[in-house]
Symmetry: C2
Subunit: 787 residues, 2 copies
């Protein structure tokens, strides 16, 4: 039985709808996460109005990190819930586990961000009732969300009780981040909850208000309830057969971390937030669901007008997949706030605690860089703020410069990786999490993204204010981290974890060493560059960062860093001693649709002994530093490592797919695209329980634009080399290259590139330079096709 449906819409809605057509309370997490609604500020899982055992109600506000206690790391706290609404029909609590479901359909409309749920339900007492639930999170006012419920008794009158309000008895898997605070009700209507996070002292204001009207004008009895960690209204009324009642619930969420309070003192913000937010909320609430929703819908329309990617495929799922990814890519970022990263689960679940990883730079960043360079810049500015924590971490570990935290939260939190994880299947003990200690490649990943952004946008302002400093400080870290092997005379990077997290405590991980080398090389080149061309800047940075000494050290040591080379078979060892590992029959795990099943049979120590990868370490290296390796080396290594990779990271298939595409392994590339798009959207019902895989959304986009359309940055050039899978007849998308908005359409025969900007754009098409003037469109016949 398939619970999910992907081909529900038709006409203008074709491939815009994701539907759950079978209700199963065992799989609540799936649609809670993938139907998550938000606007970059708010992220709210689509938990149902009625409650179920096993549900995970989450409402997150970006950046509001709090620490439960000294023993835990900071995390994005779960806000009070306003999505629940207990509905009693003739005394029976409405629940789809009771009575009979005659019709069921829950649909996320990617076009406007609204979720609709239609249910025809027969209550245990035999009353047939039609429900229509709607919900949206506003893109017009980021603080606002709205719910609407229509209840229509089909065969008989019913009495209805609604219990709805603000529930503060929520937590992050048991860790409570808020004081109870105060609760009150204004004007017999507007419910208010003022709270504060326990440690970070972020003050929050949550409001909600209801409107109930029925066609018959039924009298509604309203009874206020304020209790511990909860404030509600209980409404009682009756409606007759075929008379619909409409219940609206408009809510608003505000905090002192809001951007508007950025430039005033925390105390000042705490003083004004209550009145300001109340006024804003009441004004909005008075508009009602329809008007508020239309305003939000208009913003979504604008987004899609600019960003929709057309994929004409034999399988509509391919089109839906990229739209689904872009939906989430749009709601996971607060584009105007450079104090914020993007969490590994964005704002869709408690997984990874709202922390940012290397995923942002390597898997998400390109999307924003290609489509909204200003937003991309704020992400790098976040890392600039992060230098505080990175310098602290480096110093604490005895290194120089900036060692980026493996997990980052608020800008001055520093390293926030937790120390303990799941149970070891062999010993029964919780396993330590080593990534915060020894997965160090992130510093080079950030530097890589800075340089990539500069090459892509030419944004010297950013480089001068933030970019150079990041590259220089991370380079310093690597210089201090490298250790000289007295035997070989080479520098080595020892005891690390690479992107393939199935291997711990390894030496000279190819990915890490090459990326570190690249980081130092960038530093060396940029120092030379600005010393030559921008003397004032050089002197200013030298004063702050001691560039002279850095340059000296780079000249002395950088080229002595050991970079693993291909062996006699052309294979680069993933790390020292890789070839001595034992072989393992992976078919069982490769076939599993559940990630991490290998942990059920082996513990970390044991996995360490086998040639098995979570994601292809070296494949990512090829993708990022493509120019360093010849095609034959890439092909050989790709095939060698792909075989040993379980793709147990959601970031694995996209990169493998892009590389497969480049290598002409078309079928494999297409399979990986589908795999990538299915990480969350697919029919596997458990994989998204803790939240969607945000970086994977970037991976889906990369597969399409950087993979099949083959639009990649090589050096300072934008290179286009399309490789559409045979199932696709056309793709079309927009991007911004060096300030010029480009519209690119690729079909089986040709590529059309329209420069929607005012200045000319230059790019390389299949290795040949193309220049397109502002406003001009060029058609280019694909190689091997009739002109």
């Amino acid at each position: 039985m398939e619970n999910m449906k992907y081909n529900l819409g038709s006409g203008a809605l074709e491939n815009w709808l994701v539907a759950e057509t079978v209700f199963n309370a065992d799989f609540l997490g799936k649609c809670e996460a993938i139907f998550c609604q938000g606007n970059g500020y708010l992220g709210i899982r689509h938990s149902l109005e009625e409650s179920y055992v096993g549900e995970t109600r989450n409402t997150f506000v970006t950046g509001t990190f709090n620490k439960f206690s000294a023993e835990e790391v900071t995390e994005l706290p779960n806000f009070p819930d306003v999505t629940a609404m207990d509905i009693y029909i003739d005394g029976d609590r409405f629940s789809l586990e009771k009575g009979e479901i005659k019709e069921y359909e829950r649909v996320l409309n990617l076009l406007n961000g609204e979720v609709l749920r239609k249910v025809v339900w027969v209550s245990p007492k035999g009353k047939e009732i039609k429900f229509l639930f709607r919900r949206f999170v506003s893109f017009a006012n980021e603080h606002i969300l709205g719910s609407a419920v229509e209840i229509l008794p089909v065969n008989d009158g019913i009495s209805i009780r609604i219990l709805s309000g603000i529930n503060k008895r929520v937590s992050n898997s048991g860790s409570q981040h808020f004081e109870d605070g105060s609760s009150r009700i204004y004007e017999g209507k507007y419910i208010e909850s003022i709270q504060e996070t326990t440690e970070s002292k972020v003050k929050t204001a949550v409001f909600t208000a209801h409107n109930i009207d029925s066609e018959q004008g039924t009298e509604v009895k309203a009874h206020p309830i304020i209790k511990r960690r909860g404030v509600y209204y209980q409404y009682d009324f009756s409606i007759g057969k075929e008379n619909a009642v409409h219940i609206e619930k408009i809510s608003g969420i505000y905090t002192t971390r809001d951007l508007k309070y950025r430039d005033i003192s925390e105390n000042e913000a705490r003083e004004v937030i209550k009145e300001e937010s109340k006024a804003d909320f009441i004004a909005e609430a008075k508009k009602g669901y329809k008007l508020l929703f239309e305003k939000s819908e208009a913003v979504w329309r604008e987004f899609w007008n600019k960003n929709d990617i057309t994929i004409n495929s034999e399988d509509g799922f391919d089109q839906l997949g990229i739209r689904f990814a872009q939906y989430h890519l749009n709601i996971m970022i607060k584009r105007d706030d450079n104090r914020l990263g993007i969490g590994a689960k964005a704002l869709s679940g408690e997984g990874y605690k709202g922390h940012s990883f290397w995923d942002t730079e390597i898997f998400l960043f390109p999307y924003y860089m290609y489509t909204d360079p200003k937003a991309a810049r704020t992400l790098l500015e976040y890392r600039y703020h992060n230098l505080y924590g990175a310098r602290k971490k480096a110093a604490e570990n005895g290194f120089s410069g900036a060692q980026y935290p493996w997990e980052s939260a608020w800008i001055d939190d520093g390293e926030v990786t937790p120390l303990m994880g799941d149970a070891d299947v062999v010993t029964g003990e919780a396993m330590p999490i080593l990534t915060g200690l020894i997965e160090i490649h992130i510093s080079a990943d950030v530097a890589f993204a800075v340089d990539e952004y500069y090459r892509f946008t030419g944004d010297t302002d950013f480089m001068e204010k933030n970019g150079y400093e990041i590259i220089f400080e991370t380079a310093k870290f690597w210089l201090s981290k490298m250790e000289k092997n007295e035997k070989s005379g080479k520098y080595e990077i020892l005891d690390v974890i690479g992107p393939d997290e199935y291997k711990e405590h390894i030496d000279n991980n190819a990915y890490t060493n090459y990326m570190a080398h690249h980081n130092m090389k960038l530093a060396k080149e940029y120092i030379a560059d600005i010393k030559e061309s921008r003397t004032a800047l050089y002197e200013q940075l030298d004063l702050k960062l001691n560039l002279k000494q850095l340059e000296e050290e780079l000249c002395l040591k950088m080229e002595e860093l050991y970079l693993p080379q291909p062996d006699e078979n052309g294979i680069i060892p993933q790390f020292d001693g890789y070839f001595k590992l034992k072989d393992l029959d992976l078919s069982k795990y490769k076939q599993s649709s559940i990630v991490g099943t290998i942990y059920r049979d082996f513990n970390m120590e044991q996995i360490n002994e086998y040639k098995v990868s979570k994601q292809g370490d070296i494949v990512v290296l090829f993708f990022l530093l493509r120019e360093l390796f010849d095609k034959e080396t890439v092909r050989k290594n790709f095939l060698y490592y792909e075989e040993k990779t379980l793709h147990d990271s959601s970031l694995s298939k996209c990169t493998h797919g892009i590389m497969a595409s480049e290598l002409g392994l078309e079928e494999m590339a297409y399979k990986f695209y589908k795999g990538s798009a299915s990480v969350d959207l697919g029919t596997e019902m458990r994989s998204s329980d803790m939240g969607i895989h945000s970086a994977s959304m970037g991976g889906v986009w990369q597969s399409v634009v950087m993979g099949f359309a083959g639009v990649r940055l090589f050096g300072n050039s934008l290179s286009v080399s399309p490789r559409l899978p045979k199932e696709w007849s056309l793709i079309s998308f927009n991007m911004v290259w060096r300030g010029q908005p480009l519209g690119i359409t690729i079909d089986k025969e040709k590529a059309s590139i329209k420069n929607n900007g005012e200045e000319s754009a230059e790019l390389m098409f299949e290795g040949l330079p193309v220049r397109i003037s502002g406003g001009e469109k060029v058609d280019i016949t694909l190689p091997g096709k009739p002109a």
Copy 2:
């Protein structure tokens, strides 16, 4: 539809069983609370193995108070849950809201403390399955509880998945009191969770272990799961038709607040608890459910042998009611630990946060004093420890001596009454809770109990070590609290709340003034007494408490305290101005089975203006200080105030019943007994949601022994004046009077009193002295009956 059944048992089990015969997920709180199991150390609500929306899983360990934050008051924290067990049948989560219930019965056996639940359920896939669930909390080892589940497929084989372990994602209505701590598993079987409370730093160890065996010897796959705030095993196996599988789960709970660690330092306790508790638990777990249960059952048998009260009534419910009360009276007290009070909900719910009120002294204390004087003494010793907080509170409020906290928790916590309560129906704001500030009669109530205990037991050792000090210090408080009315020249006690909490900010509350006067009178008399007869003690206490000055002040001021007198109609005003209040038609509220319904129509300010009482203030006064008032005054006032009383306190009906009994209002007395016994046990399904009403259990016992049997302490005499209701043919019970165990049986004709002690006992029977030698039994014909 009645969900509860009271006449299920027959033969030896007649009137020993309380049964829930209809499952309704809307009323989970009822049996969770009234079927609560415990042993004075542990209290565990009887939440079901499978989870439901709206359940409240609570596991409390007496005395482990913790404060979530500075904004909240300390409370008994909810411990990790070991009672839940997710059961999946062929992939369907077992839940009585799904599939079909063919048979259902959940029975608390008061005789042995075990709860049995028999369910015949047809799964959504059509498989019929018999379940038998059993659970007990051990009275043989207070740390241990056991569950057992038998699953028998009736018509077809089934696959079963069990997910069971320790769930730490629990809280007190959202407030989390524990660190996640550590989780691990020993020997592939014993699950351990070590935690600490966040503020009070109580270290806790919780263990659980499973045993699964089936008649077929099915192979069971076990998979350990350690996650955030949770450690579990997942078991997968299959069983054939008509083959039962038996699953046992033995759990153990230990803390550094345990009595055994009382005399070592906290640090030392924290060091040893882990190993000691693990060893104890593993040894116990190996014994298995049957053996462990039998040991506990033996302790229960001993309890009932000593304490069972026989009531031969036309309605078996009357017999069940007193047994039910004694069941809870037995599990709510840790008889050997004088650092602990008894919470208003005992250990059966979050209500009142585990705090002790005046309820203990006035409603619970007599039960223990009559049946187990040693345990009664520990309760008063707790108040002696409480002097610390009482002196602190007095000083903070600008008074002398000891002002007992309205709510008490751990011995050095002081006043712990929260400041805010439910919503005001008129303003929508949370209402302030004033009891901690102005409900001050508790200090006199404690002193009353001390004196009562001394008169009842003659325990001079207690008085010398603790009792006198309590009486003297509380007397000092009253002297400093009284204010002179310059007009009348009398002292007054202004701005208080009496036991009738429907009236706030009142002056000269009769109950408070009389009890305060009594408190001071006791002090004066005891000072005179020990000065005369125990000079060394007097000097020692004088040195510590300045008795000379106290005596002087008492002589000067005590008799000047204004004590409200009957008006021309013989009615004593409950407080100044009572007769000027407005009348209100109370029939609507008197008929409601739900308490507090008046709050739905009026707020506190409004209720203050009417002649309406939550409980009869003056009726309690008559009951406690009976000798001060003549019978006619008592009768007139009782009738006057009863009419105006809503009995919205669970402590109301018992006292009214005893007074009705004394006044010969037999029918009313019997009605009040039934009302009292029904507070928790009855068919009202919502009243016990936050926990059982512990003091009401004492009230039920008081109604029987002090009311119908008429066994009361007047002065230094034990007075017996039976008044059996016409529906009762016999009552029989044991008690201890001045060290001599008495067995008393009363039927329609006569009373038989057996002195099971060695020394003679003296008492007053219907006003005439009776002396019974050790070992002797006397039969006394009731007045008006043929000799």
